[in-house]
Amino acid sequence: MKRKASKILSVTIIILYASLLIVSSTSLFSISSTLVGSLERAEDVRFDSTTNPLTGVVNLAVHVPIRNRGIVEVNVKVAVKLISADGTVVAEGFDSKRIGPGETKELLVVATFLRGTVDGADLAFECRAFFDLVGLSFSMRVETPTEGYPSP
């Protein structure tokens, strides 16, 4: 009886350790590879903007190509919040995509705001793997990202 119970628990421990190793190694490898693959293509990030000269409304579209060089699917999210001088959110855009190993997909973040109202931006990037259970995220505040859109 003792041998049987002890054996079952030993096998369970081995399976759990193997799962731990597989989950952490595949997830962290895929996340870091995706991050490095995307940073290598940082120059491919495209900004398209159109301004209505009558109303002063600016349509900003940011195209972010993401390449998954890992071995498991990753879920990538990019979010942009445009902030006015008093700290209120003027506009926000968000996109997320599931990217399989070896695939490259483009995330598109669109934001519409009035010219001259934006004073800074909160940028967020999140990459999760293994059923979204393991993840790495970055967030940063950028001051005056809308250079070229001066107050009227």
Partner: protein
């Protein structure tokens, strides 16, 4: 004799991998790289030197517990206490490492990046922490089962 050799070998494992190697690797680094490693604290709040000191202390504690566990009989209460304490300390060490020096973060390490602007990185390893907790619980259960049956079968 065999028991003594096993106890010394298992204790040496913890001393080498947790106490000696991390301290030695920081000590052997070239001065310019060492200064970069120590600068990580200023930019991210991650204190590498403190983490190595904690690893050294935990390594010594685990070595002592492993030695005590291997030197005592399975039916001894000391054996059970040493096994359970080893599991708890091992789990604390994994929480400490996954939280990048903050075991209370429970696997969600938030790293403020001080470069002049306000940036934050977050490493979410809560699922890995949960798996670690399950492993600790199953290992503790195994120790209790072994102790229980060893006591039952103990020759009087």
């Amino acid at each position: 004799m065999r028991r003594y050799v096993k106890a010394v070998l298992s204790a040496s494992f913890y001393i080498i991998f947790l106490s000696i190697l991390p301290s030695l690797s920081l000590w052997l680094l070239p001065p310019e790289i060492k200064s970069y490693v120590l600068l990580i604290k200023d930019y991210t709040g991650i204190d590498v030197q403190f983490m190595i000191t904690v690893a050294l202390i935990v390594g010594l504690m685990l070595a002592a517990l492993s030695f005590a566990k291997n030197m005592t009989h399975e039916w001894s209460i000391m054996n059970l206490i040493a096994a359970l304490l080893s599991e708890a300390i091992g789990f604390y060490m994994s929480l400490f490492l996954l939280g990048l020096g903050n075991p209370l973060s429970m696997g969600l390490a938030k790293i403020p990046i001080n470069y002049g602007g306000g940036a934050t990185a977050a490493l979410d390893l809560r699922f890995v922490t949960l798996l670690g907790a399950v492993i600790m619980a199953v290992s503790a259960a195994k120790s209790v089962v072994n102790f229980y049956y060893a006591r039952k079968e103990r020759p009087v």
